[in-house]
């Protein structure tokens, strides 16, 4: 597993090069943005159940056959598995966001996920839709642009508007999940 620091080290070592000022500039930004990063991660961890439940509900609403007998979210045991997986994906996205590097998400969550779903008969197109909704919801909560109840307050960084860059980074991790399932 890598983070922003060790990613720099691994790519420098591949060239046998010393890490100088140029490469350190990016890392200094990572360090300087620590508060925003922690806030953005909190936006996920404080709203996990809500994000996952909304996404799965949205997925079912768009495709009501899922919860009917014969559907993939029937009976409730399978629906529960779906909610659980939504939370697991959010957990790995939160790790990747904190580390500033997607390796933990790729190695421990996405590697073999599609094969597992295919073997279990989980329809990946529906899973992709749920992840898309989670991505939209997460970005909205992080940047405080969600409508209705305010779900997250930037404790360290001041406000969600400060978390714009980090939110796009989080979106890129969700995109990795979507790519892996397609």
């Amino acid at each position: 597993m890598l983070d922003a620091f060790s990613r720099t080290v691994v790519s420098a070592d591949a060239k046998g090069a010393v890490i100088g000022s140029e490469e350190l500039a990016d890392l200094r930004k990572y360090v300087a943005d620590a508060n925003k990063r922690i806030d953005a991660t909190l936006a996920i961890t404080q709203n996990v159940s809500c994000i996952a439940a909304d996404a799965v509900a949205g997925m079912v609403c768009e495709n009501t056959g899922l919860t009917q007998p014969g559907g993939h979210c029937y009976p409730t045991r399978r629906m529960a598995a779906c909610l659980r997986d939504g939370e697991i994906i959010l957990r790995y996205v939160s790790y990747a966001l904190l580390a500033g590097d997607p390796s933990v998400l790729e190695d421990r969550c996405l590697n073999g996920l599609k094969e597992t779903y295919l073997a279990l008969g989980v329809p990946t197109s529906n899973a992709v839709r749920a992840v898309e909704i989670m991505k939209i919801a997460t970005v909205a909560i992080m940047t405080e642009t969600n409508t209705g109840r305010k779900m997250f307050k930037g404790i360290n960084s001041g406000s969600g508007a400060q978390c714009q860059d980090i939110a796009s980074e989080a979106a890129s991790y969700f995109d990795l999940v979507i790519e892996a399932l397609k």
Partner: protein, 155 residues
């Protein structure tokens, strides 16, 4: 590779839980210390060749030797200092452990290399070179801590 953040994430993942408040505290603590070590890494990168040459010259100043041996010594000291540069960036001893120390004893034993010269060179860098001239106090402490770590591993 081990660093402050990956250690926290590994522990959280092993327990299957989300990063907690204390995890954030520990990550934040490591970021607070990051400034000094990034400075040390940057300054070491710019002085790496100079430090290497000063140390090797000091080790080889007496006695007769073959130039080829000295060149190899330069190469190795440079290699270890590069790994220290990496350790300063990651904030842990991972790069030294993984790429410089593990397996080192076996290589030294098989090739009958004397480690004394390396130890002497790193002690020279630690004690004789005025590191203070190129980097701040805290950065120097970070750098010397890793030199000590390496010296102990070689001894």
């Amino acid at each position: 590779m081990k660093s402050a953040v990956t250690t926290v994430v590994s522990a959280a993942d092993a327990a299957g839980r989300f990063p907690s408040m204390s995890d954030f505290e520990s990550v934040k603590g490591s970021f607070d210390r990051a400034k000094a070590r990034l400075e040390a890494a940057e300054k070491l990168a710019s002085c790496l060749d100079k430090f290497t040459n000063l140390a090797v010259d000091a080790v080889y100043q007496t006695g007769s030797y073959e130039q080829a041996n000295k060149d190899k010594c330069v190469r190795d000291i440079h290699h270890y200092l590069r790994l220290i540069n990496y350790c300063l960036v990651t904030g842990g001893t991972g790069p030294l452990d993984d790429w410089g120390i593990s397996g080192m004893r076996e290589i030294i034993r098989i090739q009958l290399l004397p480690t004394a010269a390396y130890i002497e060179a790193f002690i020279f860098i630690r004690d004789e070179i005025k590191i203070n001239d190129v980097m701040g106090q805290q950065a120097e402490t970070e750098f010397k801590g890793l030199l000590d770590y390496l010296i102990n591993a070689l001894a």
